[in-house]
């Protein structure tokens, strides 16, 4: 492609049409866009099917480039070698290098993705793996020819990983890591609590490397690890329980005998307007059903009609009381 500044806007035939389509596209997406611009743009589109087609083609291509973003060369590819060389030169044993590499790996870099409260984004990575970010989530991705590293900085994500034993996909959450062994899994972090649930296949779960007695857990389908800074437990969930946890992928939250307070906390993750249940006893009522994740009013109506509770909006929140 030439670097010349000509944009072919006046070129005859299809080349000119494509150039003008890209001009509209650029202005519409990246510059301020007025109603007058829209009028001119609509007029241009309706002049000829060829105009519409050329514009759609760019829209389609641009949408597809969303998949590309994870393929970008990492921003700081040069960082690794000096660091490793320094350790090796100091004559430290291979295990130390492994730890050093771990520390190096656990430093976030790469491309950032984030969702806001109530958001939901799917990211397609270059190897065909797919990650869905739930509400209020931030992660970074570093893909190079010999590593696939993801740092989940906050929130929750669902991973469908295309397995590659030469280049395992590793998810870091603080000083813990989850390594894909061919699988689909969920990683969720709420303040100091980390939960990893295996939907399909297997993963390995490691504690921080520098801790004494750290060990690796091998988790398979249904296994769910809940780890806090001081404790860790592993349970096995039934398939429907796991799939209920993934309701957010469809925009819903599925409750099954869930205490009302816990249900409210779940809904609150997705909304700026929070549900407040002041009465601890009310919080213990168990609820079962499917609710829209981003509609706290629906929750209020549910408690009103089905539990005869009182709900009102106050100070931007929703107060539930008897």
């Amino acid at each position: 492609m030439s670097e010349s500044l000509g944009d072919d806007l006046d070129a005859p035939g299809a080349t000119g049409v494509e150039a003008r389509a890209s001009d509209w596209f650029q202005r519409r997406h990246f510059e301020t866009w007025s109603d007058t611009d829209q009028v001119h743009f609509d007029a241009w589109l309706s002049e000829s099917p060829a105009h519409e087609i050329a514009y759609w083609r760019l829209e389609g291509a641009w949408a597809r480039t969303k998949k590309l973003v994870a393929l970008r060369p990492p921003r700081t590819p040069e960082r690794r070698s000096p660091f490793l060389v320094r350790i090796a030169a100091a004559g430290i044993a291979a295990i130390a290098i492994a730890v050093g590499y771990w520390i190096y790996q656990s430093q976030p870099r790469g491309i950032a993705y984030a969702t806001s409260v109530g958001g939901h984004e799917a990211v397609m990575l270059g190897d065909g793996s797919r990650i869905e970010l739930n509400t209020d989530t931030a992660m970074r991705v570093s893909y190079t020819s010999n590593e696939r590293i993801i740092w989940l900085e906050k929130g929750e994500a669902y991973f469908e990983v295309v397995h590659d034993s030469d280049r395992p996909l590793v998810v870091f959450v603080g000083d813990r890591r989850v390594t894909d062994l061919g699988t689909k899994f969920i990683v969720r972090q709420d303040s100091a609590r980390l939960e990893v649930a295996v939907v399909e296949g297997r993963v390995s779960f490691d504690e921080a490397a520098e801790q004494q007695g750290a060990h690796t857990l091998l988790l398979s389908q249904g296994d769910t690890v809940v780890a806090t800074p001081t404790a860790m437990s592993v349970t096995r969930k039934l398939p429907h329980e796991i799939s209920n946890e993934l309701g957010w992928r469809r925009g819903v939250l599925i409750f099954d005998g869930t205490p009302l307070a816990e249900a409210a906390n779940e809904i609150n993750r997705y909304n700026v307007r929070k549900i407040v249940i002041a009465d601890r006893h009310l919080g213990k009522i168990s609820v079962t059903g499917t609710l829209s994740a981003n509609d706290p009013d629906q929750f209020m109506r549910m408690t009103r009609y089905l539990l005869a509770l009182h709900g009102e909006r106050a100070e931007g929140n929703i107060q539930i009381s008897r």
Binding site: S2, E31, I285, S292
Partner: protein
């Protein structure tokens, strides 16, 4: 209080959508069904039409004819339909301009589109798609790539990109315009031999 019976309800959720394509129905159909066949189309045109400078116009003619047809009925499957149209357009042009050896036309008229080699299977196609995506972004000149990535990944406006890259806004506009055009050409599969075109 704790022994209030469980409630149960099902309420249709308002699915959160994350649609990126704003084109109307026919546009979505083109994006989904037609543009992905562009590599096939370009290979066909290149094979039967030697003059490379006409290819963009021929492609446009094919798309417009599909557009006209699809307004009433969407062809399904699209591939043989597209190739039939391409064949007819090339035959018309051959007759009009009388520049191509007559064998080429006979060859074309005898060509049974339905018997044409089947498209690659889905898996291979999607793997190929990812390679193509990777190669497309890597083949953009560095400044173009940088502008496109800032726009796509970080969602910056051209003004913000200009500040970030330390260049003028009109240079950014140029990079974005050329960048998206090149991406469209590469993603929708220009044939191999066109890649090195100046």
């Amino acid at each position: 209080m704790a022994d209030i019976p469980d409630t149960s309800l099902e309420i249709t959720a308002n699915f959160r959508s994350s649609s990126v394509v704003t084109a109307p129905d026919l546009g979505s159909w083109f994006i989904r069904e037609v543009f992905p066949l562009e590599a096939t189309l370009m290979q066909f045109l290149q094979r039967y039409w030697r003059n490379e400078s006409d290819l963009a116009d021929l492609k446009q003619d094919v798309y417009v004819r599909i557009y006209e047809a699809a307004k009433t009925t969407r062809p399904n499957p699209v591939r043989p339909f597209l190739l039939t149209i391409a064949r007819n357009i090339v035959i018309d042009k051959v007759r009009k301009e009388q520049v191509v050896p007559i064998e080429a036309v006979t060859d074309l008229e005898a060509l049974n589109i339905a018997m044409d080699v089947p498209g690659p299977d889905r898996t291979a196609a999607s793997r190929d798609d990812l390679r193509r995506l990777q190669s497309a972004i890597n083949r953009l000149p560095p400044r173009y790539r940088e502008a496109v990535v800032l726009a796509q990944v970080e969602g910056l406006s051209s003004q913000e990109i200009a500040i970030r890259m330390g260049i003028t806004k009109s240079a950014v506009s140029h990079y974005l315009k050329r960048g998206i055009r090149s991406l469209a050409d590469m993603l929708y599969g220009e044939p191999q031999s066109m890649r090195s075109r100046p």
